[in-house]
């Protein structure tokens, strides 16, 4: 599958430049929403869980519809199944936000610290790593509007949700992390995407472990 990737890293990052130019200043709005979720995790409120899930839903729907169908489809026919997967995940998250029953709260235990690390990494460290790897602005995959940091952020938020298990909400992000992480590292020369692979595997494992702990 990886041998048949239909575009080069050069084309991919050129597309990202066009994407960032077109959607500006959506990147700032995405950062503000991400910071809001971080604040709600550190200072929990009754509606924090719903708001966090709604923000995640918005991010996934944006990435599915605007990025995949609107841009990535220009160079990759696989944007159709990917965009569909992202849109489905967005609808699942929106459904969970409406249903409620989960609270967003940072708990200072090992899982909580990993979750916080994911959120901070997605917001601040990932763009820095991308810049160091030569993929800085305007070619950078920005928080919220680009799939990789958004997926890492998603695992962080899901791990900070208390109440009903969020394992099912992590299945599609895990599939994406495995497929896209491997492809980006191997074919596109984007070493910063090792973090996506790691976040997918560690994040989903902790979600399963957290559910087992709750059931014990």
């Amino acid at each position: 599958m990886i041998r048949s990737f239909p575009f080069t890293g050069e084309s991919y990052f050129s597309l990202f430049e066009a994407y960032n130019d077109t959607i500006w200043p959506a990147q700032i709005a995405a950062y503000l929403l991400g910071l809001l979720v971080l604040l709600l995790a550190l200072r929990p409120t009754a509606a924090g869980g719903r708001i966090a899930l709604a923000v995640l839903a918005l991010f996934w729907l944006w990435n599915g519809i605007v990025y995949h169908f609107g841009f990535f489809l220009q160079i990759n026919f696989a944007a159709v199944p990917f965009g569909t997967l992202f849109t489905l995940q967005g609808l699942l998250l929106a459904g969970s936000a409406m249903r409620g029953g989960r609270q967003l709260r940072f708990v200072p235990d090992p899982t909580g610290w990993v979750a916080l690390a994911f959120v901070l990494f997605a917001l601040f460290a990932y763009p820095l790593l991308a810049w160091l790897a030569g993929h800085g602005w305007p070619r950078a995959a920005m928080f919220g509007v680009a799939a990789t940091p958004m997926t890492i952020f998603t695992f962080g938020v899901l791990l900070m949700l208390q109440g009903r298990s969020a394992v099912l909400l992590g299945v599609l992000p895990l599939l994406w992390a495995l497929a896209a992480g491997l492809a980006a590292v191997v074919r596109l020369g984007a070493p910063e995407d090792w973090s996506l692979l790691l976040a997918g595997i560690v994040g989903f494992t902790l979600l399963v472990w957290k559910r087992r702990q709750a059931q014990a």
Partner: protein, 304 residues
Amino acid sequence: MNLITRRKFIGSLGAAATIPAWSESHAASGPIITRAIPKSGEKVPMIGLGTWITFNVGSDEKLRAARAQVMQAFFDGGGTLIDSSPMYGSSEGVVGYGLAHTKRPALFAATKVWTMFKPLGVNQMENSRKLWGVERFDLMQVHNLLDWSTHLATLKEMKAQGRLRYIGVTTSQGWRHGDLASVMRSEPLDFVQFTYNVADREVEDVLLPLAAERGIAVIINRPFQEGALINKMKNFPLPTWASEIDCTNWAQFLLKFIISHPAVTCVIPATRRVDHMQENLGAMRGRLPDARMRLRMLRHAENV
């Protein structure tokens, strides 16, 4: 079925191409090597231009202009056949951009239909025609045999109406060779396309002899295994005896091995660089290897 044996086939190597009377050791001069399309006798230059990956550059103006330069080098060097597909992302639009920004004496426009169902196929082919900016395609192929029976019926109709000149079916990387052979035996194809190079030679056993027997032109894709063969070989010096077949680099060595097979009509290496395009085009001038030299090339490639 009267299949040509591999021994007979190797014995006939070098006999089918229109090879110039040529004894100089420079690959860059002399007439272009062409080969006739069996169904019509029309001759095409044996080095074409593929667009998989390399031409999929989206709407980036700078990258589109760079690909147009590659196309200009291709036309300037005597190339005519360009092959693409709607599966290749933005490649067809980039080819269209290149055609609008280059001067060319001739073009052999080849693309594919890659979808299910007749209405979607018809719509896709019309969209491809608009992207290329051509009046009609010379060759339309069913990509990777996808819904081939439906599309071949449409292509036959279009050919009868003069909306296409040739029709064909493609595969790559060794996929569905058995199915392709069945289609070649049962349908009136003008062209087939599949993978052949010094490392992938399964097609020598059935598909190439079958194409020769049925009078089907053959386009070869992935001559460098998406660059893997070149990357492997560039670490070693070109053997001195490569000059006997007028090769000055590994790309020409690999391409001349392919086009010296008598059943091959054209090979379509893809590149994004003008200098690589010029290297590739050098393979369609000068002497081609005979059967003995082909075996020597194979042995050498296997040991590199």
